[in-house]
Symmetry: C2
DNA sequence: TTTCCATATCGTCATTCATCGATATGAATA
DNA sequence: TATTCATATCGATGAATGACGATATGGAAA
């Protein structure tokens, strides 16, 4: 858990929004064809209004920071919040900030 | 309390270190001539190894985010953590992340 | 008033970041 | 095998950030 890298990842509203959407997938991604417990397809996040490549870059930042995990199933890649890392970060920030 | 601006302010190790130093002034700034409860002189933070102007810029980012308050006394400007904002931010991040 | 000191602001430069369209990759399908 | 679809990666570009030395500001002291 690299707190500095996580803070950098959180320092963009698009990325905090993605993480926020992923808190309650059933609330935000009910339109998804696949079962929600597989995770959320990358394409779903294009609803933020940015291009496919930009969204992909934001997702990569979140993944490098360990805030989301990915899983390939067929031609799709599913994203999930990494609750362990989120919890560890929250503990850290509560302790040190 | 602008959480996005605070996250941007926290997204640099120098600034998180400054905030961390300000948690226990008596531990880190015992060398200061002035009483610690006035706050910490800007110049004290040059111990991070950066130039005066760069340190001043980092302090300005923290101030704009509301994470520190300043108080001019004579020719010095004293910095303090803004515990209200820090607490409000922690509450927010615990609730939304 | 002149000088000195602490700090902020300015101008510049290099680096990183956000964004896009285009292209590559890799799996599914025809 | 050729095509399609979802996603990642590439290359370019403009914007924002971080750093510095130099300068401005504002108060204290001589």
């Amino acid at each position: 858990m690299d707190a500095d890298e996580i803070l950098k990842a959180l320092a963009h509203p698009t990325r905090t929004q993605i993480l926020n959407w992923l808190r309650e997938p059933e609330l935000h991604f009910s339109s998804q064809e696949h079962p929600l417990d597989m995770g959320i397809c990358a394409g779903q996040f294009e609803r933020c209004g940015l291009s496919q490549s930009t969204v992909s870059a934001h997702l990569a930042v979140l993944q490098r920071a360990g805030l989301v995990t990915t899983r390939r199933v067929g031609q799709w890649i599913f994203y999930k919040r990494n609750e362990e890392t989120v919890a560890a970060f929250l503990k850290h920030i509560n302790d040190t900030l």
